[in-house]
Amino acid sequence: MPNYVKIEILRMLRNRRYIIFVVGFPVVFYLIFSGIWGAQTDSGGVRAAVVLMVSMAAYGAIAACLMSTAVPWAQERQSGWLRQLQVTPLPGWAIIVTKLIASLLLVLPSMVLVCLAAVLTQGVRLPVGEWLVLIPALWIGAVPFAALGLLLGSLLPADAAQSAAMISTFGLAILGGLWFPVEIMPEAMQSVVHAMPSFSYADIGQHLVAGGAAPPSAVLTVVAWAAVLGTAAVFAYRRALARA
């Protein structure tokens, strides 16, 4: 299976769409936004350069999870590659586990680049202990989005999966307050926002960089979404694999 993870990663790193949308965009957004607002501080005294770093890392992780799962997986089902794998000794569960592992690994390039950009261009400095909690938290917290990507890839044909992954990525980014502060949204939207996995996901990061602990309610929200989407993904996956 390590071999399978390797080729899954290799193919995505050679995919121009992944490199541009997933690795490139979050860093470019970070450079633009932090160039404009980076010096401001929020009510809690945290610099916008730091807040933006968490938001863009979160956005990058969500994009990576959805893009590296939904579209290739839908294509493989349609193009017959899945059937090719089904006539090898590779067990069915290994495919979904590999996709999950690969998508989580593919989260790392954009996350690391955004943090690097924050450190190098905005002089962001965090205590070593905070980095060591922040990066794993943002990394593991991406599981619900990988599950969502696999769910979409199992349910939809390739071109629809492409659109669905785009819409989900942007929807999660906007409704999760990753691109615009949640405070500027209308009152009615606030409850929607607070229920989004992307909001809680980024919120955990924001609390960590503010020197606090992750709020239990946010952790619970992410875990709940991971459970729901993960279960749905497994069901949809089994259906996609089922023999006629």
Binding site: I7, R11, R14, S79, G80, W81, Q84, V87, R243, A244
Partner: protein
């Protein structure tokens, strides 16, 4: 133990019966052609042998157990009718990935050589021609050194020359005592590359034997000559003749014994025979006769 054993296997899609009580057994070590027109149920049968489709009824046994178990043990390799590769990966990466999924694979260089891909090893899969991609899919099928190799219309996208080279590769693989089953609707392919031909149509076996036996089963030769407007009767009473047909001044006699028929034509009738031709049955005739709608 048979490599493949299908007992009363059926499968329908909606109310279309794709496979209808199919019985066949293939001994280990043989190269067998599954010959039939489009829609005969070849692919459905093959997908059931591979465990990709569950039979609606009957039993499918592969190498002594269920198809799923044989596939999981790595004893089966298959080239399905369609299937794209992962475009971003090179030929070498794809082949190496698949061979490592098997417990006792062939060596990477050997696979590339047999599939005639050594020169293309570093090329990305999305830069391959149709025939080249077919060869990669063949390489993936043999990568695990499977005991049973199943090929569903393997030469579909190939030109004549690639086809010849391709069959050379398959014969090389089969020569190691492995079992090969391939589906085709090309008659010469079945004739030249298999030691047994199973003809199926409308989901049933209609003939089974060597190509020569199948031809012999149809048996007949055709004696054909120009009548030029002469009145004629009783041609179907000539020795050996099973059917006589006259159209546009040409008489066509189907006969089991062309020598006797021709002798009787000259000696026993007063017809003026012109343009006499004797045509041997080929597999094409046999095939058409066997698969003709009733």
């Amino acid at each position: 133990m048979d490599a493949i054993a299908l007992t009363d296997v059926s499968k329908s899609y909606g109310n279309v019966l794709a496979v209808d009580g199919l019985n066949l057994a293939v001994e280990a070590g043989r190269t067998v052609a599954l010959l039939g027109p489009n829609g005969a149920g070849k692919s459905t049968s093959i997908n059931m042998m591979l465990g990709l489709i569950r039979p609606g009824g009957g039993r499918v046994e592969i190498l002594g157990g269920s198809p799923e178990a044989a596939v999981a043990r790595g004893e089966v390799g298959a080239m399905l009718q369609s299937g794209e590769l992962i475009g971003e990966l090179t030929v070498r990466e794809l082949v190496d990935f698949v061979r490592r999924l098997y417990p006792e694979p062939l060596g990477l260089d050997e696979i590339l050589r047999v599939a005639d891909l050594t020169e293309l090893a570093r090329r990305r899969a999305d830069k391959l021609s149709g025939g080249q991609a077919q060869r990669v899919r063949f390489a993936l099928a043999i990568a695990g050194a499977p005991k049973l190799l199943v090929l569903d219309e393997p030469t579909a996208a190939m030109d004549v020359e690639s086809r010849l080279r391709f069959w050379k590769s398959i014969r090389e693989y089969a020569a190691e005592g492995r079992t090969v089953l391939f589906a085709t609707h090309y008659l010469e392919e079945a004739d030249e590359n298999s030691d047994r031909v199973i003809v199926i149509t409308r989901g049933r076996v209609v003939a089974d034997g060597t190509a020569a036996q199948i031809k012999a089963g149809i048996g007949d030769h055709v004696v054909r000559f120009t009548l030029g407007g002469q009145p004629v009767a009783g041609l179907d009473g000539l020795p050996g003749v099973s059917a006589a047909e006259i159209s546009q001044d040409v008489a066509t006699l189907r006969t089991a014994d062309p020598d006797a028929t021709v002798a009787a034509l000259y000696r026993g009738t007063s017809l003026e025979i012109r343009d006499l031709r004797i045509i041997g049955a080929d597999l094409e005739d046999a095939f058409l006769a066997l698969t003709r709608e009733p």
